[in-house]
Symmetry: C2
């Protein structure tokens, strides 16, 4: 056991909340994507900020790696303890601390999931809008700067997080931000921690902005003859200032996946899935304005979903894109990746991805938060076929290069984790030196999620 | 001359664009607020990123302070070169680099002002929404994390800045972010630089999000019997999800200032100034919904401004609040300060400020971006009366303490600069250590705007 001293001190602190059973270790060594298993030496289940602080003090003093884990739904292996040490399972710190309906915010612990929060908010007239699909924990969502289908209207976790409490590498507890909606005081540590993937500190409390539940919601789907038509329709929609709540692009392969996985019965053409929020009158006006724009690009096959159960079915199908991608191939495992480009470059990005997948003989679905220029490519692969895995890696690399060539970023919402470290230098250039300087200053012993985000190499 | 070596090397680099005339030095040693003059040893006028890089390399090597300066409209003395060295006047780097209407963004140099940008955007159907009143430079607005009257709808500079180019202390040029609307790759250096007041790097290029020009705009004013009524009306408005474009609170003293300065002829009661953006139908619906809410709180004295010239007159008056505050007292100079609190605490914050001003015998106006919980207190003071200046300082200190007591921040948009350093420890606690660590890592020789933001004291 490489970190025996740390583990014995942690066991003394946590008792039976430090677990080293094979079952628990394997559970924390799994992931939803294609990364190989990576087991922690033990799993710690803290119940308070104070305990997290004591755990980090021990790990800092002994050089024991600490990898935080929420729901385990990250897609770039962020929660995999690559260098052993402990998994810090935040699942027991899952309370709603406070809801302030007047201020449209709430304070929660990091292990709370977004759906549980929304259940707690149901009677307040408010909701938490960020929706990455999976029922992720809010701490994990902040740590990976998650977003999802509603970001086009309500923003990402960057916009949703007002304030944080975090435990830093040596056990120091800090608070960043406040319950006020904005501030100009000092360096923005809140947004330095958001998206830092557990490499700079462990989030132990979050204050989140909430939104008023819309008075009316309606959803619709339609299809286009080409990706260009669908994308150009979206560009004009966004330019015209329509406050779309969701606007999702699906390519013909993704639609085929939905047909196989969910019996969707949709024509295998590029689709847009839409949602409108507002007053009853405004929702009707928005839908009408959108239909007018879409007609210019030959939209067809309109289907509406105004009843809540129909909308739920629609978005459940969309959220199961990961599994629908897998359905395209028996026994396939999904290699999920994403990029984000300026919206004017989106059609080119999607077409390049389709072309690369075809060239490499890969089964690939494309689905995207097209209002943000963000799309996902889901490859259905056989992890036991090294040649196919190599082709998938080649595809993923080409996709990242496409993002940079088109003026975008190698990930809109999945993050860096393990899979995209190779792009950090290409995307950030000399700025990478300053990221390393922050990591060095905040975590000099390198215990926080080592092996992630910042690639090895000269500082 | 304390930095003779630096200045002679800079003169060799810049020729007649390094100026040490008394007139130029005094111009760069002034400010709009109450801080005493602080003169640079010389003023540098760079024309390119490359030149900024060469200037910083020289200053880094020689330990010469560098204080960047835009329009000089900051209110906490951010651009005053407290420790001499050079003022880096960014005014010649004022070009629009690119406008991408399809992507709703543009790339500009830091010396461009927001009004000049909006003139350049006029025919694109887009506009840049952040409006702090003054025709500030965009680099200065980013450096101070500015916001203003439209932040309630369109966000602050934090939301508007997509990407930056910056020159770091040793002359290294970095790029942060991209033209994509979101990203999950690496530490968010963009938002670390936004609001850093020139202490971590010099912004040399900005990519900014733009918004579609609304199809219709209408404005209105109304008054209330009490601050509580006005604030409660705003709280209910925000909760109900009305997408207010502007919603400004003015106390009776501010209204008196407008009456004196601009002949407004308004009853001296708490007012709200409002603006609605959207389609013609939506603007009408919003105004009607707001009026319904306002009626519950006894709103009266409705005046509408739908013609562009009437709206311009209304907001020009609002933007001249600084001078209207001065008008309350012959020869008075304005001591401007701001705080931001959770909106539920806003009435208490405003009443406390009014009460403190009365107790201290000070002439004080209050005007606020009330949808954000942010308000300004404008004291009209005589800088040559030390006793009054001491009372103003006492007021300002009490106001900051009120902000922290109510769960807010000591500045919503003016920043720290010189005036609020004394609150950094109280507001940020142990997080201040991590801010100092970043400063030390990024600017080890302490040349960037020394004496600002981070207070002296143990690291």
């Amino acid at each position: 056991m490489p970190h025996e001293t740390a583990l014995s001190r942690l066991a003394a602190l946590l008792g039976d909340r430090l677990v080293n059973s094979q079952a628990d270790r394997r559970l924390h060594g799994q992931n939803e994507s294609h990364y190989p298993e990576a087991l922690p030496e033990a799993v710690a289940y803290p119940e308070s900020t104070q305990e997290v602080s004591e755990i980090l003090t021990i790990c800092h003093e002994t050089g024991c790696p600490v990898t935080a884990c929420g729901a385990g739904s990250s897609l770039e292996g962020q929660h995999l303890p690559l260098q052993g040490g402990i998994s810090l399972d935040m699942g027991r710190m899952n309370k709603v601390r406070a809801i302030s309906a007047e201020d449209l915010n709430c304070t929660v612990q990091p292990g709370l999931t977004r759906q549980t929060l929304n259940t707690a908010l149901r009677d307040t007239g408010l909701f938490f809008p960020v929706d990455p699909g999976a029922d992720a924990t809010l701490g994990g969502m902040a740590a990976t700067r998650a977003s999802g289908t509603t970001a086009v209207r309500y923003g990402t976790m960057r916009d949703a997080v007002l304030a944080l409490e975090a435990v830093m590498a040596d056990g120091t507890v800090i608070r960043t931000g406040s319950r006020a909606r904005k501030s100009s005081t000092g360096y923005d540590l809140t947004h330095l921690l958001v998206g830092s993937e557990g490499t700079l500190g462990i989030i132990t409390e979050l204050t989140l902005r909430l939104q008023g539940q819309p008075e009316a919601i309606s959803a619709a789907t339609c299809h286009f003859d080409s990706i260009e038509d669908a994308v150009n329709c979206v560009i004009l929609t966004i330019q015209s200032g329509l406050p779309m709540a969701r606007i999702e692009l699906l390519d013909h392969m993704m639609v085929r996946g939905f047909n196989l996985h969910a019996g969707a019965g949709l024509p295998e053409k590029p689709h847009l899935f839409l949602e409108f929020h507002g007053s009853a009158a405004s929702v009707a006006e928005q839908a009408e304005s959108f239909a007018g724009i879409a007609a210019e690009f030959g939209a067809d096959g309109w289907q509406s979903a105004t009843r809540p159960e129909d909308r739920t079915a629609l978005w459940r199908m969309r959220h199961n894109a990961h599994y629908a991608s897998a359905a395209l191939r028996k026994g396939g495992r999904v290699w999920a990746t994403d990029i984000c480009v300026p919206i004017s470059q989106l059609a080119e990005g999607v077409l390049q991805a389709q072309c690369d997948a075809e060239r490499l003989g890969l089964s690939c679905t494309i689905v995207g938060h097209v209002g943000d220029g963000n799309f996902h490519a889901g490859l259905s692969v056989d992890p036991d076929d090294p040649a196919e895995m190599a082709r998938a890696a080649e595809f993923s690399h080409a996709l990242g290069e496409t993002a940079l060539r088109l003026g975008g970023t190698v990930s809109g919402e999945h993050g860096i984790g393990i899979g995209k470290q190779g792009f950090m230098a290409a995307e950030h250039g000399p700025a990478l030196t300053y990221m390393r300087a922050i990591k060095q200053a905040f975590d000099p012993n390198g215990i926080l999620n080592p092996g992630k985000m910042l690639p090895d190499g000269p500082a």
